[in-house]
């Protein structure tokens, strides 16, 4: 019964996500194009002053591929319209609707968020496949293997960002406005996720700290696998790390919900 309910929510979520496809194509498409373009110009300028055409052991072409894949990965894992709406629902008292339904709120939110992201997943994987084929001297079969290797990290990256976003939105039980925290998180992720530069370029102490944190799974690890910066043999360890963080964040979000729902009050019709 519960599974059927969540599947129905998922289908509704896909319909809702497709309603915004024109908006996605215009803003997200243009944002991606300009973001990748500006980053490519920057890295071209960075490498053009180097006689060796290699920085920290990364050749220019591989760095460009990483930039493309990292921007695509973060655009996929970071989208979070559903989680942000939760804060507004708490603030306006609309959360009461979910309390009366035979589904859990977190389950409802995750089904809607999964639907929102699943629509863009094929687009991102397709663009990444084209970029890999152009830059690396690999066969189509190898491209598919690289994408399949990165896919579980992308899915876990989506889950990490979803849990971070939902946790921030649940702070709306105590705070009037939490949109600023969402914006702070999104801006921080440009750097912390490795979208702007591979985290392996950080000074060693900072790189060690970032390797402990969950943000790397939003861009650095999936893009690193796709661009060949991270060997596929490292995948099992990265998956365990990402799963561990999903577990920690799930517990934190559940605790926030339990504490917050006791404070929640909505009045009137």
């Amino acid at each position: 019964m519960a599974v059927r309910a969540y599947m129905a929510i998922f289908r509704v979520g896909i319909s809702a996500a497709l309603m915004y496809r024109a908006n996605f194509l215009f803003t997200a498409g243009l944002t991606l194009l300009v973001g990748i373009g500006v980053q490519s110009f920057l890295w071209t300028a960075v490498y053009s002053g180097q006689s060796s055409r290699s920085i920290a052991g990364i050749p220019f072409e591989q760095m460009l591929l990483y930039v493309v894949c990292a921007t695509l990965s973060l655009s996929l894992t970071r989208s979070g319209r559903i989680e942000r709406m939760v804060a507004e629902e708490i603030r306006l008292g609309e959360l009461s609707r979910y309390l009366l339904k035979p589904v859990g709120h977190a389950g409802y939110a995750i089904a809607m968020a999964a639907a929102e992201r699943i629509v863009t997943l094929p687009v991102v994987l397709g663009l990444a496949a084209v970029a890999i084929s152009i830059v690396l001297p690999v066969q189509l079969r190898e491209v598919v293997e690289m994408l399949l290797a990165a896919l579980p990290l992308l899915l876990l990256g989506m889950l990490v960002n979803f849990l971070l976003g939902l946790g921030i939105s649940y702070l709306a039980f105590w705070m009037d406005e939490v949109w600023t925290l969402h914006v702070v998180k999104d801006i921080s992720l440009w750097f912390l996720s490795g979208q702007l530069l591979p985290l392996s370029l950080l000074p060693s102490a900072a790189a060690q700290v970032s390797a402990l944190l969950p943000f790397q799974h939003l861009a650095y690890t999936p893009a690193g696998i796709m661009a060949g910066l991270i060997p596929v043999s490292a995948l099992p360890g990265l998956l365990v790390h990402a799963l561990l963080w999903c577990g920690i964040l799930s517990c934190a979000v559940a605790l926030l919900w339990r504490a917050g729902i006791h404070r929640y009050g909505a009045y009137g019709g």
Binding site: F26, G35, G49, I55, L197, L201
Partner: protein, 266 residues
């Protein structure tokens, strides 16, 4: 309006700022969080270039010290934009959809001025202080400056700000015309990404586009080059001449767009 218009608008902005400050004081945590947003953005930009300069001595002819002067300039112009115009720019579709623009049209002051300056962003005043501190720190590390560059720099900063207002006014004018305009407003921030890097990282064609057609290069890159004494004469001419012309054209375009506005029933 009677008397000196500059004094009138300065007094009016003072009153509006005072009202905004009163509103923000009701939610002080929110004020600090809004301040935090741009501080984090500054941190990300400084962090990116800080790490890059660990691996290379120069980027497109800019040393680390010069790049930080560029970033300080970018932060100062951005903080002024956030303080004065940005909040208002994002409200334009709401003004049009709800008919709130009616109230601006009937007030005894410039409609353009009211639309773009009605709501100052108090938190950005704190960001401006941080931006000035970053610029001051960068200048302390940079080579000595020439006096004519120091004198010209505020004018180029003002013109960089004028460029940002001109872009927002042009997009605001389109927003008045097409009603559901959230997507079109995003184009400003998308184009602004080009202005967040020095113009010399781009290819010659893109660079010319960013200096003369969509002059995002005039926002921070040209002012920083003028201050560092590395701007050739054509950048001086472009940086002085284009922003006022662009702003004039955008104000005319915005005023013309108001003819399409149909009030609350739109």
């Amino acid at each position: 309006m009677e008397g000196n218009p500059v004094l009138f608008y300065a007094r009016l902005w003072g009153v509006l700022f005072s009202q905004a400050l009163s509103r923000e004081m009701e939610y002080r945590l929110h004020l600090w969080l809004k301040f935090l947003i741009d501080v984090v953005w500054y941190g990300v930009q400084l962090g990116l270039f800080g790490v890059l300069y660990l691996h290379v001595p120069q980027i497109a002819g800019w040393s680390r010290e010069e790049m930080f002067v560029f970033l300080g300039t970018l932060f100062v112009v951005d903080a002024f934009n956030m303080l004065l115009f940005s909040t208002n720019f994002w409200r334009i579709p709401q003004y049009v959809l709800t008919g709130e623009l009616d109230f601006f049209l009937v007030k005894p002051a410039s409609t353009f001025w009211l639309v773009f300056l009605r709501y100052p962003n108090v938190a950005s005043l704190l960001n401006l202080l941080v931006a000035l501190a970053v610029l001051g720190y960068a200048l302390a590390q940079a080579p000595p400056l020439r006096w004519e560059a120091v004198v010209a720099y505020p004018v180029f900063l003002l013109n960089g700000l004028a460029c940002m207002l001109a872009f927002q006014a042009a997009i605001g004018a389109i927003a008045v015309r097409i009603l559901a305009a959230e997507g079109i407003q995003q184009t400003f921030h998308i184009l602004y990404q080009f202005g967040m890097k020095p113009d010399s990282i781009y290819t010659p064609l893109v660079r010319r586009l960013l200096l003369y057609v969509f002059p995002m290069g005039l926002v921070a890159s040209v002012p920083a080059q003028v201050l560092l004494g590395r701007a050739p004469w054509e950048l001086w001419v472009a940086g002085l001449a284009i922003p006022p012309l662009l702003l004039f054209a955008s104000i005319r375009f915005f005023s013309a767009s108001l003819r399409w506005y149909q009030g609350a029933s739109a």
